[in-house]
Symmetry: C2
Subunit: 105 residues, 2 copies
């Protein structure tokens, strides 16, 4: 159940951005390519409910809302980062494997 939440692209990308520090909604939206307003707000609500992200509203006019990793969210982000860097480091190997696979079809 928890695991299924992790195997979600937007969850992993949001946690990666929040690892750099608290963020507002639109800032998150700018930093995560291709995420819709709906997907971002739904995923943030799930992450807040799971205790991984905190939501703080500041009494400015208009109100500003900031999202941040909780302690629990931080422990998770420590395990996501190696996965993300693996994807970045190994992309050439994967692309080469795909070329070879496709040439055998």
């Amino acid at each position: 159940m928890v695991f299924e939440r992790l195997a979600d692209k937007w969850t992993l990308l949001i946690i990666r951005v929040l690892r750099q520090g608290p963020c507002r909604f639109n800032q998150l939206r700018r930093e995560i390519e291709g995420i819709s307003q709906k997907a971002l707000s739904q995923t943030l609500r799930k992450l807040e409910r799971d205790g991984l992200v905190s939501r703080t509203a500041f009494p400015t006019v208009p109100v500003t809302v900031e999202y941040a990793l909780t302690g629990l969210g931080d422990t998770l982000s420590n395990r996501i980062t190696p996965l993300l860097s693996w994807a970045e480091d190994q992309i050439q190997h994967v692309l080469e494997a795909q070329r070879q696979y496709d040439s055998r079809q």
Copy 2:
């Protein structure tokens, strides 16, 4: 692109099972709760194309097919395992956070 492949429940669960050693199709299907025949064969094909899983056919009658992690697949599984154990270790904290969140609604 590669990253999106990782943020997939079946991918992560298949790699976790293959981390214990080579497996046949039906063995994988038994070990991964809820996966359909179609989802398993599609995901295995993607993993083979990405160079993460090898597929070996043995000339038995009928032919038997075995799936195994490649070297590249093994390096990935080393990064998935901490994520899976995090999910197992932290489930109580997540459930507690959900109870508190739901009580505030």
